[in-house]
């Protein structure tokens, strides 16, 4: 539900209740007012009757055309001060409320009890009028508020949507500060201020974290270099026993793993630090061809590499593209079987690298995550594919994986360079 709808719902109910209440109050006030006026007129008539009786020693003749009725009766003594009474309307449609004033009057030493009554006219009409006015006003108000809100809504909330759009375009690590448009509305400005502050803070924290990763990796390079150099020296000893050799070999292998892990982490940090900015249109066919030749040379007699290449262009950072291809080629050889095959096909905007391997498909939902390892005996650091994914994301390439039997296929798809950017 939109805020606007919710707001309208509440305000409309409040308005309806308020109007009903106010109509009721209005009605009673009107009624009270009419009664007061009527009572005043009855008091005036009382005075006039008293004056008349004083002068004429008789009661005035009742005018039957008038709605005023005067009746008098003899009493033995005065019954007290004048009193008003309301007589509810008698049966029948057009009967009105009747207001009656009773007072006592002395004339020629005789006490009379005089009653003046007058119908209160127009109460119904007044009530009806009040109700109609209230309903019409209410209706008009609701319509007007709906229209005005709808029309105003977009204009008033426009800065809000602009800010939300800006937040949506905010990318962590991209150093462009988000552009929140200034508005005249205090609340939105306050919100934008907070957004701005938050974006700056988040960016700062992120940069600190990334720098930390990069610095930590760098700092590790030197001790690693020392360990490796010491091992290089230690293995030169000609009198090493078999156990010592095995120990050194195992240390050596672990240093290698650590070094490659560190390199990968550093690479990831650099990619996310945008240190590989800038791209060019790459003739991917030639690049692939060079790689394939190198690969065939390396794996001569071990793996059979077949390929089918057609011209294709790609907009990317050449260094990143190199890393991407190296990773995919490394994977294709690492996870291969003895005398296995690697099949490479480049067609338009699609590169497919297939290799033979164990007949166990990779977990597609997790394969691009960091430190994903397909199997327990996997000796890799599990960062290769996450680097592939990161480069693909940065370059606008869509990577996908499929497998059938013992064939694993990685496919990269991209748009033409003119559309890629």
């Amino acid at each position: 539900m939109k805020l606007f709808t919710q707001y309208n719902r509440i305000t409309l109910w409040v308005v309806v209740v308020f109007f009903l209440l106010s109509s009721l109050v209005y009605y009673f006030l009107m009624k009270g007012l009419l009664f007061t006026e009527l009572d005043k007129s009855l008091v005036k008539i009382e005075k006039r009757i008293e004056d008349y009786v004083q002068v004429h020693h008789a009661f005035p003749v009742e005018d039957s055309l008038d709605d005023l009725r005067i009746s008098h009766a003899k009493t033995s003594q005065a019954g007290g001060p004048p009193s008003f009474r309301r007589i509810p309307p008698t049966q029948g449609k057009n009967s009105d409320n009747i207001r009656e004033l009773t007072f006592f009057l002395q004339s020629d030493h005789q006490w009379y009890r005089v009653t003046i009554s007058r119908a209160l006219e127009g109460m119904k009409a007044t009530a009806l009028m009040v109700m109609r006015t209230a309903l019409v006003t209410l209706f008009a108000l609701v319509i007007a508020s709906l229209l005005v809100n709808r029309l105003l809504f977009r204009r008033l909330w426009q800065p809000f949507y602009a800010s939300i759009d800006a937040i949506g375009q905010f990318q962590l690590g991209k150093n462009n500060l988000v552009d929140f448009p200034d508005t005249r509305i205090e609340e939105f400005n306050f919100m934008n201020d907070q957004f701005r502050r938050m974006a700056a803070k988040v960016n700062k924290e992120y940069v600190v974290l990334k720098e930390f990763t990069e610095n930590a990796s760098h700092e590790m390079q030197t001790p690693l270099a020392i360990i490796r150099s010491k091992l290089d020296l230690a293995i030169q000893d000609q009198h090493l026993s078999a156990e010592q050799s095995a120990t050194l070999q195992s240390a050596y292998a672990s240093v290698k793993k650590l070094a490659s892990l560190n390199r990968s982490l550093l690479l990831i940090a650099k990619i996310s630090n945008d240190q590989y900015s800038g791209g060019a249109v790459i003739q991917i066919k030639e690049k692939l061809y060079d790689k394939i030749i190198q690969f065939q040379e390396l794996w001569k007699g071990q793996l059979q590499v077949t390929y089918e290449l057609s011209d294709a262009e790609l907009y990317a950072n050449p260094d990143l593209m190199d890393i991407l291809l190296n990773n995919l080629f490394s994977n294709a050889s690492k996870h291969n079987i003895p005398n296995g095959k690697v099949m490479i096909r480049l067609m338009g905007g699609t590169l497919e690298i297939k290799n033979t391997g164990r007949p166990v498909p990779l977990d597609e939902s997790r394969m691009f995550q960091r430190f994903y390892k397909g199997s327990l005996e996997n000796e890799n650091n599990g960062l290769g594919l996450s680097i592939v994914k990161q480069i693909c994301d940065l370059t606008g390439i869509v990577p996908s994986y499929s497998s059938s039997g013992n064939i694993h296929a990685f496919t990269l798809e991209w748009a033409r360079p003119d559309r890629q950017r």
Binding site: Q221, L224, S245, L298
Partner: protein, 232 residues
């Protein structure tokens, strides 16, 4: 002829390792641990090659490199750096370094790079190595045996060159693997391909009438035991 090397590296432990690995009959190494002493040394002496770390106390290794280049020094320069960012590499090579090796490296790789830099920089036949009936031509990338040229694939040539540069030293499979396919290809623990190329190389050497001097060091790697060097 003995070559002088200047090792500019502030990490003493690493510097010591490099020196004890390289200090054979071929090289004498001199270590310096900071920028100022490095500048001082390059002004007084001439070295065949300078192994240069970029992050140094009191200064940047790149400035030492610039200094060497300004003076038209014939010294070869191999940068060893923990910062293996592409820009640093490109910048270093652009200013005039001969090679760039990122840490952590194999000492055998460093020796091969130094040897290659020194030979590239020197002229008059010094780009040939004569050893045990073999003549390795670094410039032409060929190997000649007693009966003439031995036809090698690129991989086999890289192997024999690496072995000869690191003769009488144990080189590990890891180091050979990285040397053959560059830093960028991650091989995990799969070194079978080395074995294939080595087998072919050995066969070719044998056919050319050479004794097999490449020994397998069990579990570790290989060692080219030069027949002419001392102690073997």
């Amino acid at each position: 002829m003995v070559m002088n090397l200047l090792i500019v590296e502030d990490q003493k432990e690493l510097s010591n390792s490099i020196i004890s690995y390289l200090s054979t009959e071929n090289y004498t190494c001199e270590p310096v641990y900071d920028y100022n002493s490095a500048i001082e040394k390059i002004h007084i002496y001439t070295y065949s090659c300078v192994v240069l770390d970029l992050c140094l106390p009191y200064g940047n290794g790149l400035d030492i490199l610039k200094q060497l280049k300004k003076e038209d020094n014939p010294t070869g320069i191999v940068i060893i750096s923990a910062k293996d960012s592409i820009e640093d590499k490109v910048l270093g090579l652009h200013i005039g370094a001969d090679d760039f090796l990122s840490k952590p490296f194999h000492l055998s790789e460093l020796e091969a790079r130094i040897a290659s830099v020194i030979r590239r920089r020197s002229f008059e036949g010094k780009n040939r190595i004569n050893l045990d009936n073999l003549v390795l031509d670094i410039r032409e990338k060929t190997l000649n045996g007693p009966a003439g040229k031995i036809d090698l694939t690129r991989m086999e040539y890289l192997l024999i060159e690496y072995f000869i540069c690191n003769r009488d030293k144990v080189v590990t499979k890891e180091a050979i693997g990285e040397h053959l396919c560059g830093d960028d290809i991650d091989l995990a623990d799969n070194y079978d391909f080395i074995y294939t190329h080595l087998k072919n190389l050995r066969r070719k050497l044998k056919n050319a009438g050479c004794t097999d001097l490449i020994k397998t060091v069990y579990g570790m790697g290989y060692k080219y035991c030069s027949a002419t060097s001392k102690g073997e």
